[in-house]
């Protein structure tokens, strides 16, 4: 039954008439589903087949409304069915439905062509939004605990909900535009889904930038925000997350920078003050003995 339920629907949202081995699906359904006086076995099984796809596609479209706006309804639906058929859900929660989408889009670029580059950026940001929304929050870093530790020994952690991204497209701006267009939809909690997902008009588009765009997707007062970062700030945070010392992270951050050492030092001071105020910095995983 599970295999039948998870097989993709036809173009007109019905159950496929032909089974995987070429036989009639009707015959397969009759083997285990009883008919009644109104519905035959095929039709009764079809209800579950439709419910499965409408539920998953609805949730998927809600989680990736930016991607849908980039691809348009038809291409998005094709991608969604291919992804869900290939990857399915391996978690008890629908929250994780899109966890493997970035990899899938990279492996199957034909499904998003000619918008693959923008689609990948959008998927990364939209999945980051899921992480930022409800991932764990560790206690913020108490300054007095690290005040006396020299930079070459100090290691800092970052909040699990903080996602650092290097992008080619201004996806944060596109999502802001989408939000202003009133694209936010309310999820249904019902176990039964009575219709397929809603449609939208027009596509979101953006040219790739010549220079990378660095953003942090994070949570503040239980809302998700996108914050642009300078390249050096991104490299610094990224290095800290890998577990290197503060001194090493600063070296990595400054590598290739066109700013003067004095200006970088000044910027770093303000960055750390801001990151502390955002509670991004957490206790170090391990502090080397002095």
């Amino acid at each position: 039954m599970a295999h039948a339920v998870m097989r993709p629907l036809t173009r007109d949202d019905g159950m496929q008439r032909e089974w995987t081995d070429g036989s009639a699906t009707t015959e397969v359904a009759e083997q285990f589903i009883k008919p009644n006086d109104r519905l035959d076995s095929f039709q009764r099984l079809e209800i579950y087949n439709q419910q499965y796809w409408w539920r998953l596609l609805g949730n998927f479209a809600e989680d990736f409304r930016g991607l849908r706006a980039v691809l348009g309804d038809a291409q998005f639906d094709t991608l969604a069915v291919a992804y869900l058929e290939h990857c399915g859900s391996t978690s008890w929660t629908l929250r994780n439905l899109g966890s493997r989408l970035e990899r899938f889009v990279r492996e199957c670029p034909e499904l998003t062509a000619p918008h693959t580059s923008l689609a990948i950026d959008m998927v990364r940001v939209e999945w980051a939004r899921t992480i930022a929304f409800d991932e764990a929050e560790k206690p913020a870093l108490p300054p007095e605990e690290i005040r006396d530790i020299p930079p070459q020994l100090l290691r800092l952690g970052l909040q699990p909900y903080l996602v650092l991204l290097e992008l080619r497209h201004p996806v944060d701006k596109l999502l802001g535009k989408l939000k202003r267009q009133g694209e936010i939809e309310t999820a249904s909690l019902s176990n039964a889904v009575s219709s397929a997902r809603p449609r939208r008009r027009g596509r979101l588009a953006a040219r790739p930038r010549t220079k990378p765009i660095y953003i942090a997707v994070h949570r503040q007062n239980f809302a998700v925000y996108y914050k642009r970062l300078e390249a050096e700030a991104y490299r610094l945070l990224y290095a800290l997350r890998t577990g290197v010392s503060l001194e090493h992270a600063c070296v990595v951050a400054c590598d290739g920078s066109i700013d003067s050492p004095e200006l970088i030092a000044c910027k770093m001071q303000s960055w750390f003050a801001e990151w502390m105020s955002f509670r991004w910095l957490t206790k170090p995983a391990r502090v080397e003995p002095r």
Partner: protein, 281 residues
């Protein structure tokens, strides 16, 4: 029953489901509601707004957890990581009892996220009861299993749905969350007498009752939870209350959700069917 070991000897009255569109109203207006039912999975997260809102609700209201992903009828044993997360939430909410569905929903690690009907076989009785016992022992909280609405029946079934339910709860020694709307929906889809179902359920195991609305299609009824409760469902509710007594009752409204007041007003219709408590002289 009003108070039993299956609902931790509580005396909860009429509650409604806690839903996102009502968060603001509840937190600002603080309406009088006997209790809220939450969907456990919505709050089995590590942090963020869902838990922040839940904590505020818990400061002022009684909360009971209801789940949609334990899948007692799965062939596989319950997932321990899942149960650990669920137990963390149980400790947070202090839910007096916890419910989930008599169904299956995943196979070989692939989840359908649906409440799929079971073949009513003796083998399934044993497997399902064992899973329920394992979950209850791990969570250390009374469990109630809910009958689901269904749209298909299996050739291999060896008993009726209510016989299957009774066998499972007896072997698992657990409670029942009796969903009278689901009984009505299934009775129309499968052509059985819903009152016979109500009469067959062991009254002393009913820990909670669900009522809800549904949608009628040309050839079947779908359990959509997007309408007020229909009269035939209230009639079944009345019959259930007559059998089991004053029992914690919850209205489910999950789609096309109206205002909080409209939902609460619909839920409070249940009070017309509840026996009035004796007033002390």
């Amino acid at each position: 029953m009003p108070a039993s070991r299956f609902n931790a000897f509580t005396d909860y009255g009429i509650g409604i489901g806690l839903r996102i569109p009502h968060y603001q109203h509840i937190l600002e207006k603080k309406p009088v509601v006997d209790w809220f039912e939450i969907i456990s999975e919505n709050y089995m997260v590590d942090a963020g707004r869902p838990l922040h809102v839940l904590d505020q609700i818990l400061e002022q209201y009684r909360v009971v957890q209801h789940g949609v992903s334990l899948y007692f009828g799965n062939a596989d044993r319950p997932n321990r990581d899942h149960l650990r997360k669920l137990k963390r939430l149980v400790k947070r909410t202090g839910t007096p009892w916890l419910s989930d569905h008599l169904c299956w929903g995943s196979v070989d690690g692939r989840y359908t996220h649906d409440l799929l009907p079971m073949p009513y076989t003796w083998e399934a009785v044993e497997t399902t009861a064992a899973n329920i016992r394992e979950v209850r022992d791990f969570l250390e909280v009374p469990l109630a299993v809910e009958n689901v609405s269904s749209y298909a029946e299996f050739h291999m079934s060896e008993m009726s749905e209510w016989e299957f339910l009774n066998e499972v709860v007896e072997r698992a020694d657990c409670g029942i969350l009796l969903d009278v709307n689901n009984i009505y929906v299934s009775s129309k889809n499968h052509g059985f007498d819903p009152q016979m179902y109500i009469d067959a359920v062991p009254a002393d195991r009913v820990a909670q009752i669900h009522v809800a609305g549904h949608s009628k299609f040309e050839k079947y009824i779908l359990d959509t939870h997007d309408h007020p409760v229909l009269d035939p469902v209230w009639e079944l509710y009345a019959r259930a209350i007559a059998r089991v007594g004053r029992t914690a009752t919850l209205l489910e409204w999950d789609d096309r959700i109206p205002s909080f007041d409209d939902v609460h007003c619909e839920a409070l219709k249940a009070s017309h069917f509840l026996p009035h408590e004796a007033v002390a002289a």
